[in-house]
């Protein structure tokens, strides 16, 4: 759906909204459903989230200025809705005493982060790391979808601290704490992956 059509329908109201709702559904449902499913992990909840998002889109359509594209704006509304569904009392996780990363681990992590021309042995290690990561990440998404989803959105859209504060509707200080929690939670759920990075090429 073109944003000019959207703005026009918002201005015209009435039947134009009904038509535009159908058009929104046809244009964006699949991609938003996928986002919702990934975040909430439940088909019915994802369907409900997308329809609720479309309703919110029309309630707020007058605030869409057309500076950005339509989909990112709708996605941000979906994410707010998803976060509201996921929000629950946050249990603080005590920071590990040994939270620093050694120079060796740092080097291993660097190797994980860049594309290279790996040897068969390195390739096997990479596959093993990928398996550990996928396993840990899946558990992270299932058990702590709030932090995992925000981390996914950071990767997808390059969110800054300010963007995350806006998304979470939190103060800058609370947002920095949330980001710190993301990092800690990732370390907890991905500990095997981190351990592999530490142990790679050396004795366990």
């Amino acid at each position: 759906m073109e944003k000019s059509s959207f703005i026009r329908a918002c201005r015209d109201g009435g039947f134009a909204i009904e038509q535009a709702l159908r058009e929104l559904d046809r244009s964006f449902y699949a991609i938003l459903f996928r986002d919702g499913l990934r975040t909430l992990g439940d088909r019915d909840a994802a369907r409900d989230l997308v329809q609720d998002t479309f309703i919110k889109v029309w309630r707020r359509c007058a605030t869409f200025r057309g500076d950005s594209e339509l989909l990112p704006w709708i996605r941000s509304i979906l994410r707010h809705g998803a976060l509201a569904s996921l929000r629950r009392p946050v249990r603080e996780i005590a920071l590990d005493a040994d939270d620093t990363i050694t120079a060796d681990t740092s080097r291993r992590l660097w190797e994980l982060s860049v594309e290279g021309n790996p040897s068969p042995e390195q390739l096997a290690h990479q596959n093993e790391q990928a398996v550990h990561f996928q396993r840990g990440w899946r558990r992270f998404q299932q058990e702590d979808p709030l932090h995992a989803s925000v981390m996914t959105w950071i990767v997808e859209d390059g969110l800054s601290t300010e963007d995350i504060a806006q998304l979470l509707d939190r103060t800058p200080g609370a947002t920095r704490e949330f980001i710190s929690q993301c990092r800690k939670h990732a370390r907890r759920y991905l500990k095997d992956w981190y351990a592999l990075a530490t142990d790679l090429g050396g004795s366990p």
Binding site: C10, R11, D12, G13, G14, F15, A16, I17, E18, Q19, L21, R22, D25, R26, Y29, A30, F33, R34, L37, R38, R47, Q51, F54, I55, W58, R59, R60, C61, A62, T63, L95, D99, T100, I101, A103, T105, S106, R107, L109, W110, L112, S113, Q129, A130, F133, W137, M151, T152, I154, V155, E156, L159, S160, T161, R176, I179, S180, R183, L190, A197
Partner: protein, 213 residues
């Protein structure tokens, strides 16, 4: 863990390049963020093969039941209330809002006046079209240049956002169009200009015969 390193970690996770030079502590945060970014991106790339993506793919682009549910939900939220034709969330001052409440009535009056004016105007000019009446839902017009009138109708209704299909069958040209219901003022005006009645169900079918000179 300092706030600074968390910010470096976030920047790396988001794909923003770190400033130079990096000390060892910042390096660790950046590498950690980059490695996570690479691995999360790989998971996202692999997503199409994942089961959940397969499920998402089963959600068709057009789903009548889904659309009906959405419209019903919008109606339940008062978005499509017939007595609230304008979006209630458009920000207006109170005075403007009060004035805007009269817009539908005013719009109707304008359309009526325009329709009467157009009718009067055309009655004093050489009639190029004549309504022969609507039979089985099809309106028949007569014009000296049916093709030109067909194109004009297509153009005018199309510009008003109406999907129009032109046709030529049995030596007769015409158009089929699905009008929004209720018919907006702008479209009603076009219909009035061409002596076309407003179809109750929004389905407009027009055939144009060649008028004898």
């Amino acid at each position: 863990m300092s706030v600074g390193t968390d910010e470096d970690w976030l920047d790396a996770l988001a794909g923003r390049k770190p400033g130079q030079p990096l000390d060892e502590r910042v390096n660790a945060a950046v590498f950690e963020g980059l490695a996570l970014r690479t691995s999360i991106a790989a998971v996202l790339r692999a997503d199409p093969q994942a089961a959940q993506q397969g499920e998402a793919a089963t959600e068709s682009i057009i789903d009548a039941d889904r659309e009906i549910a959405l419209i019903a939900r919008a109606r339940a939220h008062g978005l499509l209330s017939p007595d609230r034709p304008k979006n209630p969330n458009l920000r207006r001052s109170e005075g403007t809002a009060a004035w805007s409440a009269q817009v539908p009535r005013l719009g109707f009056a304008v359309v009526l006046l325009a329709a009467v004016s157009v009718g009067l105007w055309t009655s004093f000019h050489e009639p190029v079209i004549a309504v022969r009446g609507a039979q089985t839902g099809t309106v028949r017009l007569r014009d000296r240049n049916p093709g030109a009138l067909q194109r004009q109708l297509e153009q005018e209704l199309g510009a008003a956002g109406v999907p129009v299909t032109g046709f030529s069958r049995l030596g007769r040209v015409g158009i089929d169009a699905d009008l929004p219901v209720p018919v907006p003022a702008a479209i009603a005006l076009i219909l009035a200009r061409h002596h076309l009645p407003i179809p109750a169900d929004g389905v407009l079918s027009v055939e144009i015969d060649a008028a004898v000179p």
